[in-house]
C-alpha cells in the first residue's frame, strides 16, 4: 500500500496454482488509470490466468489457488470478505470468442443492469443506447434491437459484448485476445474503439498480435513461463527491450 501513486490496479507478489502446477510466479504489476496495458507472451505463459485474476474469474476453476494481492483503487479485491460480484461490476471482461447470449440485442445489453437490480425501464433503455453508441455499434443495430444477437457478424458480436460490458458501468476493462477470431476490418474497429474508450476507462488487453500491442497500448508486459519478464513503456519495449528474451519474442525469433 506504500508506493501506489496513481495506479488504478496493482498486482503484488502474485503466485497462482492450478492444483500443484504453478502458473504465475511472483508477479508485480502496476496499471495506471486511463491507459491501455498490453500483455504479450507465448501460448501457455499465463496471460489469461493473470488477466482473469483481475476480476476474480479464476474462482471458476476448481482446485486453483492464489497468493498475493490485487489492489483496485488501493482496495485488495482478492480479500475473501469482498464479494466477487462487486469486483466484476467494476472490472469488466471481454472474451476471446464473442459470447453473446442467445437473446435479443437489447436483452444482451440490459442483462448486466437487470441482474444488478436496475428496474427503471427508461434508465435501462437510455443505458442500452448509450452503451451501444460507446461501443460504436449503434448505427448498425439501432433498427434491429429486437433481433437475436446471434444473427450479428462476429465483429458486431464482439462489439456487442463490449457494449454489454460497458452498460454495467465498470472502471476497468479486461480484454483476452478480443480480436483473435475477427477479420482485419473488425479488428481495426475494435482497436479504434479501445483508443476511444481509454479516455474514460482503464484497459488491459492480452494479444498475440505484436502490431496490435504496439498500436493500442501505452504499457506492455511480457510474460514467459509464468513470470513477468519485462514491463514498461510500449515504445521502449518495442524499440529497445532490456531483456534478450523479450527481444527474441517481439522480433519473432521465438516460439
Amino acid at each position: 500500500m506504500h508506493e501506489k501513486m496513481n495506479a488504478k490496479m496493482e498486482a503484488r507478489e502474485i503466485n497462482f496454482y492450478y492444483g500443484a502446477v504453478r502458473a504465475l510466479k511472483n508477479i508485480n504489476m502496476s496499471i495506471t488509470g486511463n491507459t491501455v496495458t498490453a500483455i504479450i507472451g507465448p501460448s501457455g505463459c499465463g496471460k489469461s490466468t493473470f488477466i482473469r485474476l483481475l476480476n476474480r474469474m479464476h474462482e471458476l476453476v476448481a482446485g486453483s489457488r492464489v497468493e498475493g494481492h490485487v489492489y483496485l483503487d488501493g482496495k485488495d479485491i482478492l480479500d475473501p470478505t469482498i464479494d466477487a460480484v462487486d469486483v466484476r461490476r467494476s472490472v469488466g471482461m471481454v472474451f476471446q470468442k464473442p459470447n453473446p447470449f442467445p437473446k435479443t440485442i437489447f436483452e444482451n445489453i440490459s442483462y448486466g443492469l437487470t441482474v444488478n437490480n436496475v428496474r427503471d425501464k427508461d434508465y435501462i433503455e437510455a443505458k442500452v443506447v448509450e452503451s451501444l453508441k460507446k461501443a460504436a455499434l449503434w448505427d448498425e443495430v439501432k433498427d434491429r434491437l429486437k433481433d437475436n444477437a446471434l444473427r450479428l457478424s462476429g465483429g458486431q458480436q464482439q462489439r456487442l459484448c463490449i457494449a454489454r460490458c460497458l452498460a454495467v458501468g465498470p472502471e476497468v476493462l479486461l480484454f483476452d485476445e478480443p480480436c483473435a477470431s475477427l477479420d482485419p476490418i473488425s479488428t481495426g474497429k475494435i482497436e479504434e474503439l479501445m483508443l476511444e474508450l481509454k479516455k474514460n476507462y482503464t484497459i488491459v488487453i492480452v494479444t498475440h498480435n505484436m502490431q496490435q500491442a504496439a498500436r493500442v497500448s501505452d504499457t506492455t508486459g511480457f510474460f514467459l513461463m509464468g513470470e513477468l519478464i519485462e514491463f514498461g513503456k510500449t515504445q521502449d519495449i518495442f524499440t529497445a527491450p532490456k531483456n534478450k528474451q523479450t527481444e527474441a519474442y517481439i522480433t519473432g525469433r521465438f516460439g
Binding site: M57, L60, V85, R88, R89, Y111, V115
Partner: protein, 282 residues
C-alpha cells in the same frame, strides 16, 4: 481385391443385423395393429368395461395410465431437475459427488419390480397412502428419476461454459446465471428427455402392480387416494384371468395398440420440440 471382398462381407453382416432389427420392430407394430384394430371404436376409447370385460371400453384404464404418468412427472420432474442442477452447477467435483452420480446411474438399472416392492413398503404401508394413484405415481416417479436426472444433466452440460462466464463477468450471481442463462438454454433438452421418459413409464406394469393398479373398476377414480385401472395391468389381467379368453385377448391387443400409439405420440412430440428449438437457435 481381398480387401474389397472383406469390406463387402462386413457391410453385408451389418446390413443383415439392421434388417433383422427392423423386421422385429415392424412385426411388433404389425401384429398389434392387426390384432388390436378390430376392437377399436369410439366406444372402446370412451366407455367403461362391460359384461365382465368382454365388451364395452377401456376408458378407465386409459385415464388411470394418464393419471399415473402425470402424477409421476409432477413429482419427479422438479425433483430431478433440481438434483441435476445441484450436481452439475453447484457440487464440487470430487469423490462424494462421483459416488452420488454412480448411485443414480445404478438406480436406473434396478429391476422395476423391486421399485414396486419398495413402493408397497414405503408409500402403501408406512405412509398409509394405501393402494392408490398417489402411491403408484410416487413409485413410478422414483423409477423415472434417474432418467430425468441424466437427461437434465446432459442438457445442462450442453450449455456452453462461455455463456456462464459472460454472465458472471457482468456481475450476475451464480444463481442468477443459472436462472436466466443456463436453465432457459437447457430447457428444451430437459423437456425432450422428460417427455421420452414419460414413454418409458407409461408402459410399466411391475411398479404399479402392488401400489396402484386394480383389476376392475366400475368407473373412473375420484381422488388420488383411489385405486386405478391402467393399460399395462389391464392387458395382464385380461390375458390371465376371466372366463372368455377369445374376446379378452382381442381387447388386450386393443389396449396394447393404445399404449403403442400413446408412446409414439409422446416421442413424436419430443422430436418436434427438439426441432423447433434447433430452428430457433440457428
Amino acid at each position: 481385391m481381398k480387401k474389397r471382398f472383406s469390406q463387402r462381407i462386413g457391410f453385408g453382416i451389418l446390413w443383415l443385423c439392421m434388417a433383422a432389427t427392423l423386421f422385429f420392430l415392424g412385426s411388433i407394430i404389425y401384429f398389434i395393429v392387426v390384432r388390436g384394430a378390430g376392437v377399436f371404436s369410439w366406444q372402446f376409447l370412451t366407455d367403461v368395461p362391460r359384461k365382465s370385460m368382454t365388451a364395452g371400453g377401456v376408458a378407465p384404464a386409459i385415464a388411470g395410465t394418464v393419471y399415473l404418468t402425470m402424477g409421476a412427472m409432477v413429482f419427479a420432474l422438479p425433483l430431478g431437475i433440481a438434483c441435476a442442477i445441484y450436481l452439475n452447477e453447484y457440487s464440487p467435483r470430487g469423490f462424494i459427488v462421483n459416488i452420488i452420480r454412480m448411485s443414480i446411474n445404478n438406480l436406473a438399472g434396478v429391476p422395476s419390480v423391486v421399485f414396486g416392492l419398495f413402493g408397497l413398503a414405503l408409500f402403501v404401508k408406512s405412509f398409509k397412502f394405501g393402494v392408490s394413484i398417489l402411491s403408484g405415481s410416487l413409485t413410478l416417479g422414483i423409477l423415472v428419476l434417474p432418467l430425468i436426472i441424466s437427461a437434465a444433466q446432459e442438457a445442462l452440460m450442453a450449455v456452453p461454459q462461455s455463456l456462464r462466464e459472460a454472465s458472471l463477468a457482468l456481475g450476475a450471481t451464480h444463481w442468477q446465471t443459472i436462472k436466466r442463462i443456463v436453465l432457459p438454454n437447457a430447457l428444451s433438452g430437459i423437456l425432450t428427455g422428460a417427455i421420452l421418459s414419460i414413454g418409458r413409464i407409461a408402459g410399466e406394469t411391475a411398479p404399479i402392480l402392488f401400489t396402484a393398479a386394480t383389476f376392475y373398476n366400475r368407473g373412473f377414480p375420484k381422488s388420488i387416494f383411489d385405486e386405478a385401472m391402467a393399460l399395462p395391468y389391464h392387458i395382464y389381467a385380461l390375458m390371465t384371468e376371466g372366463t372368455h379368453p377369445d374376446q379378452q385377448t382381442a381387447i388386450a391387443y386393443g389396449c396394447a395398440l393404445i399404449l403403442l400409439l400413446l408412446v409414439l405420440a409422446i416421442s413424436a412430440s419430443a422430436i418436434i420440440i427438439r426441432q423447433r428449438q434447433r430452428r430457433f437457435h440457428a
